[in-house]
C-alpha cells in the first residue's frame, strides 16, 4: 500500500515536471537566411547581438545552410522588422525568415 502511494505520488510529480518543462520550451524558433556567414568575425557579431537581446533563449549558426537560428523564451515573439534590424545592425541583410512554434 505504502509502495503504491509513493509510486502514485512520484508519477504525478513527474507529470507535473514534464508539464512545466514543456511550458518553458514553448517559445518560437526563427530560421533566418543570411548571406556571407563564412567569416566568424561576422557570424559571431550576429550571434552576440541576438544573445544580448531580451527574450532570446539560444542562437545557432548553420554555416552549411547559411542560417541564423534563434529560439526564444516562452511567449516571446519578434516581428520580422525587428529581426531585420538586428541583422542589419550587425552589417548583414536578412534574405528571408521562417518561424515555428516550439
Amino acid at each position: 500500500m505504502k509502495f503504491l502511494l509513493i509510486s502514485t505520488t512520484l508519477f504525478f510529480m513527474a507529470i507535473t515536471l514534464l508539464w512545466s518543462g514543456s511550458g518553458f520550451a514553448a517559445g518560437t524558433q526563427y530560421n533566418m537566411r543570411v548571406d556571407g556567414l563564412a567569416c566568424p568575425f561576422c557570424a559571431y557579431g550576429i550571434e552576440k547581438k541576438f544573445i544580448k537581446t531580451e527574450g532570446v533563449d539560444s542562437v545557432d549558426i548553420d554555416l552549411q545552410k547559411g542560417l541564423v537560428i534563434v529560439k526564444t523564451h516562452e511567449g516571446k515573439t519578434f516581428k520580422e522588422e525587428k529581426l531585420k534590424e538586428i541583422i542589419n545592425d550587425s552589417g548583414f541583410t536578412m534574405k528571408s525568415v521562417t518561424e515555428k512554434n516550439l
Partner: protein, 317 residues
C-alpha cells in the same frame, strides 16, 4: 572588314599588355622554398585537446596557446600538439586573437567587449575596457597588441577603428573613424587584428579592405599593401588578400597574415615584400587559416577554423 580585324588586333594587344603590367607589378612570386606541412592536431569536440572553432594562436618558447572560442577556453600545447593545460572557462565568453607580453597572456574577448589578462599558467589577472563605442570602450574587439611601455592597441570590428590605450585602459588616440567603414580618408573597413614589431611599427589587419597598414610610432602611415594600390581589391594572387582575419610578427620581424577566404597564410617582409604563401584548402562552406604565429625555430602554427585543428608548418630547404 579589314578595319574591324585591325581594331580587334589592337584591342587584344592592349589587353595583353594590361595583363602583363598587372602580372609584373602586382603579382609576386615566392622568394623562399615552399613551407612543408609537418603535422596537424585536434578535431571538433569539447574534450581536452579538441576544439570548437579555434580563432587565435600565439607561441611563447615551447608552448602554443590557442583560443578555443566556442569552448570558451584557452588550451596550451607543446610544439608536437601534446596538451599541457587549459584555462579561462570561468572568465571567457568568446576568446579571439591572443598576444603575450611580459609573461602575461592578453585575450580579446569578442562577447565581453574586454581584453582579459591571464598569467601564462592560466591564473586570471584582470580585465581592461568596457562595452561601448566611446573612447576607451570596446565593441566586439577581435585582437590586441601590447607595446613595450604597456600600451594596448585594440581593433574594434564594427566600430571601424583601432584604439591605443594606456595599460589602465585610458584612451590615447585612434586610427579610423568610429562607426564609419571606408577605404580612403583614413578610414578602415572591419579591422580584425593588430601586431607590433620590435621597433614599434603597428601593423593593422584592415580586414574587409583586404590590406595591411603599417603605422610608424608617431602615428603616420609608413606603407600599405594588398592587391593593386591597396584599395580594397581582393583576389587569390600572391600579395593579394580575401578578408584578413589575423596578423602576427615573427621573431625575425617578418609579417605573417591569415588570408581567410583564400585558406592560406602569406608571409611578407616588414616593408610588404611578398615572401611565401601556404595553407590547406577548405572543402566546406567556411575557411581554414584564421590566425597564425611563428615560433623561435621558424615553425609556423596556424589556427584552422574550418577543420577545428592546428596546423604546424616548417620552412622548406
Amino acid at each position: 572588314m579589314k578595319k574591324i580585324l585591325k581594331i580587334i588586333q589592337w584591342l587584344l594587344f592592349v589587353v595583353l599588355v594590361l595583363i602583363g603590367v598587372i602580372y609584373f607589378i602586382w603579382i609576386s612570386s615566392a622568394q623562399e622554398p615552399a613551407y612543408i606541412l609537418e603535422k596537424t592536431w585536434g578535431e571538433k569536440g569539447s574534450a581536452k585537446g579538441q576544439f570548437n572553432e579555434p580563432t587565435g594562436i600565439t607561441v611563447k618558447g615551447k608552448e602554443v596557446f590557442v583560443s578555443d572560442s566556442r569552448n570558451q577556453r584557452i588550451q596550451v600545447f607543446n610544439p608536437d600538439g601534446v596538451i599541457l593545460r587549459q584555462f579561462g572557462m570561468n572568465n571567457l565568453e568568446r576568446p579571439m586573437s591572443l598576444t603575450i607580453a611580459k609573461d602575461e597572456l592578453y585575450v580579446a574577448d569578442y562577447f565581453a567587449d574586454q581584453i582579459k589578462v591571464f598569467s601564462l599558467q592560466g591564473d586570471y589577472r584582470r580585465s581592461i575596457g568596457r562595452p561601448g563605442t566611446g573612447p576607451g570602450e570596446f565593441s566586439i574587439p577581435g585582437g590586441v597588441a601590447i607595446a613595450e611601455n604597456g600600451d594596448l592597441y585594440v581593433p574594434g570590428f564594427t566600430t571601424q577603428r583601432v584604439q591605443q590605450l594606456r595599460a589602465d585602459g585610458s584612451f590615447v588616440r585612434q586610427w579610423g573613424i568610429t562607426g564609419e567603414a571606408g577605404t580612403f580618408g583614413g578610414k578602415l573597413r572591419y579591422p580584425t587584428d593588430v601586431a607590433l614589431s620590435k621597433d614599434g611599427t603597428l601593423f593593422i589587419a584592415d580586414g574587409y579592405n583586404d590590406r595591411i597598414l603599417a603605422i610608424a610610432p608617431d602615428g603616420q602611415l609608413l606603407t600599405k599593401w594588398g592587391g593593386p594600390f591597396a584599395m580594397n581589391i581582393f583576389g587569390p594572387f600572391n600579395g593579394w588578400f580575401a578578408t584578413i582575419t589575423g596578423i602576427s610578427i615573427g621573431p625575425g620581424g617578418n609579417v605573417f597574415v591569415a588570408d581567410f577566404y583564400n585558406d592560406r597564410v602569406q608571409k611578407f617582409t616588414p616593408d610588404g615584400v611578398f615572401l611565401n604563401a601556404f595553407g590547406i584548402k577548405s572543402t566546406g562552406p567556411t575557411h581554414t587559416s584564421i590566425a597564425v604565429a611563428e615560433a623561435d625555430d621558424g615553425s609556423v602554427f596556424v589556427a584552422d577554423y574550418a577543420n577545428h585543428q592546428i596546423q604546424k608548418w616548417r620552412p622548406g630547404k
